[in-house]
């Protein structure tokens, strides 16, 4: 008697699992074809011999691509040295991305807090305003930024006209320009997830904090920050990852010499005609992102659990 409903329940359970797989199949297929597939192609390219005019020679394997990521061989005497240029580009990319993430966080947090504490209908207007930059193509926005900060641009002209400076300040084609550009481009990606988790924040908890002798700063550190941590993590990831691989912004605002990883990779597939190196660099970039992510998420969840965030 008792076995029959049990059996039916198990069958229903199995049917449910099956339909879940079925429903997620399209997404899984897209992810596999569009992300995992190319990844294997990259992996394969990175261990092949480079072709003379780009591309690779299929079937001829070589570790040269990976070797060139970190080392270089002198063309005259074959001595091996570290590829300083690559390493400094790695370093610059990581540093600029970190600074971008922190800057957007510092700017985005009060912004998100401001929006989340507005009356409900006004909040929607603010969120709408935050998304306006997305309406314009990234390239156009970046050129606009160039127009603003170049030596004869709006900022310098204005400052000179006001007599604040005599000579234009060189901003364009410096790391500062890249930083400004990236902060500008990625700020909404920080504000939106932060806002989403702040909107869900129960402000009665803030009151409870005040009631229990926590001042403004203590409430921020001990209550608000741990509670909006999911948004904080999401925002940081959303900003850090594309910053690390940024291509357009460093290209347009950093000029030729202030390259970031994205530009270095593009160079290998373009003028450098070294596809194995490009592929190896891409994979290296991915590994950096993954390591950073693991580190970050582990850290965030650990401090989240104890609440001493």
């Amino acid at each position: 008697m008792a076995r029959e409903p049990e059996l039916a329940a198990r069958q229903a359970h199995r049917a449910e699992i099956r339909s879940r797989w079925l429903l997620s199949a399209p997404a899984l297929i897209i992810i596999f074809v569009a992300a995992v597939g190319p990844l294997f192609v990259m992996l394969a390219y990175s261990v092949m011999v480079r072709g003379d005019y780009g591309d690779v020679r299929f079937g001829e394997f070589s570790s040269e691509g990976w070797f060139n990521v970190f080392f270089q061989r002198d063309i005259f005497d074959d001595t091996i040295t570290y590829a300083d240029a690559h390493l400094s580009i790695f370093w610059r990319s990581i540093r600029l991305s970190l600074i971008t993430t922190v800057s957007t966080l510092i700017l985005g947090f009060p912004t998100a807090y401001f929006i989340a504490t507005r009356p409900r209908h006004t909040r929607e207007v603010w969120v709408f305003l935050i998304t306006i930059p997305f309406w314009t193509n990234l390239l156009i926005r970046t050129f606009a930024m160039q127009e603003v900060i170049r030596n004869e641009g709006v900022v310098n002209t204005l400052l000179q006209a006001l007599g604040v400076i005599d000579q234009p300040i060189q901003i364009l084609y410096t790391d500062w320009a890249i930083l400004f550009g990236m902060v500008y481009v990625y700020l909404p990606l920080m504000v939106l997830p932060l806002y989403a988790s702040m909107e869900r924040l129960d402000f009665r908890l803030v009151e409870a904090g005040y009631d229990l002798y926590a001042g403004r700063f203590a409430v921020l550190r001990r209550i608000i920050l741990p509670l909006v941590k999911p948004g904080l993590v999401a925002g940081s990831i959303l900003v850090f990852i594309p910053s690390l691989g940024a291509y357009v912004t460093p290209r347009v605002l950093g000029g030729g010499k202030n390259m970031m990883l994205g530009n270095l990779i593009e160079l290998q597939f373009g003028a450098g005609r070294n596809w194995p190196l490009g592929a190896a660099l891409s994979i290296t970039l991915m590994v950096i992102v993954m390591v950073a992510l693991l580190f970050y998420v582990r850290n965030a969840s650990r401090s989240g659990a104890t609440g001493h965030g």
């Binding site: 129960d202 009665r204 908890l205 009151e207 409870a208 904090g209 005040y210 009631d211 229990l212 002798y213 926590a214 001042g215 203590a218 001990r222 209550i223 741990p226 509670l227 989240g304 609440g307």
Partner: protein, 368 residues
């Protein structure tokens, strides 16, 4: 009957002076509190009783410092605390919604206030253990607060607010989520804690029984006003207004005309016929047409003529007592509640005409 507690004899812990609170402006303005004045003594168990939306929570929030009065002043220990932010007031709150920190464990919630006060580690741990033991929550010390039941959450909220030993504890319906048995236990526990710690409790409830059994004094509120403040006995036996009489317990109303006033008592000629002597609250001089209230258990049904007379409409047996619903001669309803004894049988049945004796000092003139 014990002497009602006089605020003047004890030091006043909290005082509200002509407090008004208006939310919103223009046509959306809502007067949540309307010229409320009340003094609460040190170590008093003071209860705010009133229907939903009458302004109980608002008054607590003003005392805690989350809201600022539109006019009037809040005094704590005699000092105006208008400029003091909540985190500097020696006042803790048990919130109606508990407001436990979801990212902290039960024990971390309880220790929060102590940590913010900068107490030494050892003292904090001892105090937290003590509070958890008191609330019988030792087993759940390391649970997250989203993994405990509603009743447990309420006890954590209590422990958290009590841990820093505030001067005044504000409790916003702290027992409403508990089941009957636990609720009774917690009521006793709260009373005991209040007596032991010497903390002033300002307790909000809309449960009249809870208010009567626990409080030193009760303030009955309605629509942003305090209608009457007094000991539970005062409030029950001598309701000053119809709302108070209605809100607490069951009540009979008698219409009549004042014939004369003498020594704190009014002679009233009832509409149903018969004269009755009724008390009235201080500061009023009854005259003309008035309404009297008589609690059902302060009247007795008898055979033959008495103060009142009417016909029995229904007799309902309740175990400990019996309710006799009658229709008086002027058409108004009157209920008598009579205690049962084992062998006694009521000498009348439905439809019989009976007399009703109103006890000495059982009638009270309502203010209107």
């Amino acid at each position: 009957m014990p002497e009602p507690l006089r605020v003047n004899e004890r030091r006043v812990a909290v005082e509200a002076r002509n407090i008004s609170k208006v939310f919103g402006t223009g046509e959306h303005a809502l007067r949540a509190l309307d010229d409320v004045s009340v003094g609460i003594a040190e170590n008093e168990f003071f209860t705010l009783l009133g229907p939903s939306g009458c302004g109980k929570t608002t008054l607590l929030r003003l005392i805690a410092g989350f809201e600022f009065p539109t006019s009037g002043a809040i005094l704590l220990g005699g000092e105006d605390i208008a400029t003091l932010p909540p985190y500097k007031r020696p006042v803790n709150t048990v919130f109606q919604s508990y407001a436990l920190f979801p990212h902290l464990t039960v024990a971390q919630n309880v220790s929060f206030g102590l940590e913010m006060l900068g107490k030494p580690r050892g003292e904090i741990e001892a105090r937290v253990a003590e509070m958890l033991k008191l609330m019988r929550m030792e087993q759940l010390a390391n649970r997250r607060t989203d993994q405990i039941s509603g009743g447990q959450a309420q006890r954590v909220a209590l422990a958290r607010a009590l841990a820093p030993a505030p001067k005044v504890l504000l409790l916003d319906e702290p027992l409403s989520a508990l089941d009957y048995k636990l609720r009774k236990e917690m009521q006793l526990e709260l009373k005991r804690m209040q007596a032991e710690t010497g903390i002033t409790f300002i307790f909000v409830t809309h449960d009249q029984e809870e208010a009567l059994t626990m409080s030193d004094r009760v303030a009955v509120m309605s629509a942003g006003k305090i209608l009457q403040v007094g000991s539970p006995r005062d409030i029950y036996d001598r309701p000053a207004e119809r709302f108070v009489a209605d809100f607490i317990g069951e009540t009979n109303y008698l219409a009549g005309t004042v014939q004369g006033v003498d020594g704190g008592r009014a002679e009233v000629l009832l509409k149903t016929g018969g004269r009755i002597s009724a008390s009235y609250s201080e500061g009023m001089t009854p005259s003309g047409e008035v309404t009297l209230v008589v609690r059902p258990e302060h009247a007795r049904a008898v055979e033959g003529a008495a103060d009142l007379s009417g016909a029995v409409e229904d007799i309902v047996y309740f175990g400990t007592d019996t309710h006799i619903h009658t229709r008086l001669d002027d058409g108004s309803a009157f209920t008598v509640r009579q205690q049962n004894s084992r062998n006694a049988v009521l000498p009348f049945a439905r439809g019989d005409r009976i007399g009703i004796v109103v006890g000495d000092d059982a009638a009270q003139v309502l203010r209107d």
